[in-house]
Subunit: 135 residues, 2 copies
DNA sequence: CGGGATCCTCCAAGATACTG
DNA sequence: CAGTATCTTGGAGGATCCCG
């Protein structure tokens, strides 16, 4: 996509545009999904235990949180530390890589916060003009 | 989530945290999905026709592009202009609101671009340490 | 050319229950 | 408390065909 057009290697004639596009798509599929963002947000001010995250995020199933965290661990965005006590205690913490995501994500969150009214109003206008919410 | 914690209204005791969380989730569900980002990216340097977008994005089905564009129009991120010629010609263009999304999205894209190697390496390490890619 | 409708598939994700 | 396994289903999304 063009958002990264300026990053094309000079010698590659843009033929790899698709490559970059698809790579972006892949990464955005990962970091762009709801629970990932929630999880990174939850961990943004320090390590946290599994159930604490579940409560903090709210509305996420046990299973989905587990899968999301596995994925993030795999991508190197967070670390998982299990203390073999009874009962078990597992702490999750962002890595440097994960923390570096906070800044761009915060900007996006800011955008969302600031433009929520505009979007809602636009939606109302659209729904009024056309028949009903969707169709 | 905490990414927007600093934006809590002073008088609301954080009870609306869930509200904000869910609102964020909703918006991120919209603007965070793959095709939306692709579409905004495609339109980031000027208006474009439907089929041109399809070619530029690549890998998107006719139907999904239509639905995505409808959604974006509804949220006020772009405008749709149909010229009743034969054959028909329809142009899509970002609104000011839509254009204001480019900046934060570019930052995210930059992050993705810069950290792609790190993520791939982390994934390889993870897969080597544990058995196989997923399980 | 662009959009809608229809059909069909398939997988993401919730619920539940068991283990260490 | 944390994780895994199994089952089930809703709906996202592709393919296809027809219309203006």
């Amino acid at each position: 996509m063009d958002l990264i057009a300026q990053k094309e290697l000079p010698e590659s004639e843009g033929a790899d545009d698709h490559e970059l596009c698809r790579a972006m798509g892949h990464i955005l599929d990962r970091i762009g999904d709801k629970w990932t963002i929630m999880a990174v947000g939850a961990l943004s001010d320090g390590p946290m235990r599994f159930n604490a995250m579940m409560r903090k995020i709210g509305g996420v199933s046990h299973r989905m949180l587990t899968l999301t965290l596995r994925g993030l661990e795999r991508e190197g965005l967070l670390t998982r530390t299990a203390y073999p006590t009874i009962p078990p205690k597992v702490e999750y913490e962002l890595t440097d890589l994960g923390r570096s995501l906070i800044a761009p994500l915060t900007l996006l969150a800011d955008w969302a916060f600031e433009n929520r009214p505009a979007m809602e109003q636009a939606r109302l206008a659209y729904d009024k003009e056309h028949g009903g919410p969707a169709k």
